[in-house]
């Protein structure tokens, strides 16, 4: 091979860069799925757990628009067959009163950092 003194170091850098995730996690403990602290007094969230996992941000976004722009305040939950106040702090954080052990556990793992808390309280 010609110019091996340039090409070989280049290929070593290439291999190191593209295997970054493999060696970055070396020595770290094997990844465990997050454990969440769920509210004890209730069995269910306001919608099904699967729905909440994928759609809670959309739900909050809709609530915000409906509350702030259209002035409605109540959300009818088919699952629970009851009304909930469309409020981030007064509803979600009423049951999930431990942001660090609930919301943040998931968000930290996926580099999600909702800016909502710049304005909203974490406790009712």
């Amino acid at each position: 091979m010609y110019n091996a003194k340039y090409i070989i170091p280049g290929l070593i850098i290439f291999a190191l860069l593209f295997t970054f995730p493999f060696w970055y996690n070396l020595g770290a403990v094997t990844y465990e799925p997050v454990e969440l602290e769920l509210p004890e007094d209730f069995d269910d969230c306001i919608e099904s757990t699967e729905f909440m996992r994928t759609e809670h941000m959309k739900l909050l976004d809709e609530w915000r628009d409906i509350y702030v722009r259209d002035g409605y305040q109540l959300y009818w939950s088919e699952l629970k067959e009851q009304y909930f106040l469309m409020s981030l702090t007064k509803t979600c954080m009423d049951c999930h009163d431990n942001k660090e052990d609930f919301c943040d556990r998931c968000h930290d793992q996926t580099a999600v950092d909702p800016y909502c808390w710049d304005c909203h309280h974490t406790e009712p």
Binding site: P21, Y31, T54, V112
Partner: protein, 351 residues
């Protein structure tokens, strides 16, 4: 037709992932086996290709006409020639760096225009350069941001990049500027092939397939993030990704089908990479018009594959046969007497 066939090919890949991971339920194949295979093929294929290129002949230095070589007549004052046509190693490193980081050659892209009266004019055209730049950098940012699925704890840089990229705070989850821009750039790169007649003429499936593949990866990713029925829970995705990089693969429950489509298309891209024009990623470092300093007037560059030839010069030949040549009346360069004198002189010196 070439574009349509390429599109059908990529759509078929999407259907394969949907049937395999969805209808047939062989998630392990699409989530573990194919991705591992893809990474292996990518890295080994890339290195093999580069070594193969390294073994082929390196041409003679190619002086490009963009500037005078460093050592030129005193009247040429152009200091850019140090980058355009460098004669030194440092200048060549500079030229390579700007080529790789800023695509300087694309910056010189020109457009041919035919004016009335059969005039041909060349004018500068920077669109390709600017959209290529946008495409490559947003792609890089997206790939780095995706490392959030493959690292734990997530390095601060990645979290920071995530925040900067989503700083517009429109939509929930917030729109990433990079994923919006990459769509615009990909759109340009594709439409260019559709609507510029000369581009359309030379475009092959090998040009369309990578474009459609990357567009599908980006669209499936954005669907997964923003659009209701395609959304997926990211926690099991992280579990799967971490399982892969820590060599304890698992296929957790609850990953949406969109993810498998996204992941399968990505695996195909990796496998296709070493065999496609995408290898310009490594190839750019081996471009002979960019990486060879123009120093053929200062340095001797022996042909590296010269066969070691046994030499017998005319001088040696005459030395061997001088007496016989003189006897046969053949002309010689050094007459016999001189030889005799020289030898006698040498003899005297020895004494």
């Amino acid at each position: 037709m070439k574009a349509i066939n390429s599109l059908i090919l990529v759509l078929a890949l999407i259907v394969i992932a949907m049937l395999g991971a969805g209808a047939l339920g062989i998630e392990y194949l699409f989530g573990v086996i194919i991705p591992y295979l893809a990474v292996f093929i990518f890295i080994v294929g890339f290195i093999t290709k580069m070594v193969g290129w390294g073994k082929s002949a390196v041409p003679f230095r190619i002086p490009t006409t963009c500037g005078q070589a460093t050592k030129s007549l005193p009247m040429f004052k152009d200091k850019w020639s140090r980058l355009d046509n460098p004669g030194t190693k440092l200048g060549t490193i500079g030229r390579m760096f700007l080529e790789v980081v800023l695509f300087r050659s694309l910056f010189r892209n020109t457009r041919v225009e035919l004016h009335p009266g059969q005039y041909i004019a060349y004018s500068s055209s920077k669109w390709l350069w600017i959209f290529a730049l946008i495409f490559h950098y947003t792609f890089l940012i997206i790939v780095i941001r995706h490392l959030r699925f493959f690292t734990e704890p997530i390095p601060g840089v990645i979290v920071f990049l995530d925040q900067v990229d989503s700083m517009l705070q429109i939509l929930v989850p917030p729109l990433f500027i990079s994923s919006a821009l990459i769509l615009v750039a990909l759109g340009y790169l594709l439409l260019r092939r559709f609507f510029v007649p000369s581009m359309r003429y030379i475009s092959q499936p090998a040009d369309y397939v990578p474009l459609f593949l990357i567009i599908s990866i980006v669209v499936s990713g954005m669907l997964m993030r923003y659009v209701g029925p395609f959304k997926t829970d990211l926690m099991p995705v992280k579990e799967l990704a971490m399982g892969l990089v820590q060599f304890s693969p698992t296929v957790p429950e609850g990953i949406g089908l969109t993810f498998y489509v996204h992941f399968f298309l990505f695996s195909v891209l990796l496998m296709y990479f070493p065999f496609s024009k995408l290898m310009h990623m490594g190839g750019v470092f081996l471009s002979p018009t960019r990486n060879l300093p123009n120093d053929s007037r200062e340095k001797h560059h022996p042909n590296p594959w010269n066969y070691p030839v046994k030499l017998h010069t005319y001088e040696d030949y005459e030395n061997d046969f001088r007496e016989k040549m003189v006897e046969a009346d053949l002309p010689v360069e050094k007459p016999l007497e001189e030889m005799a004198e020289e030898t006698s002189e040498n003899d005297e010196k020895k004494e």
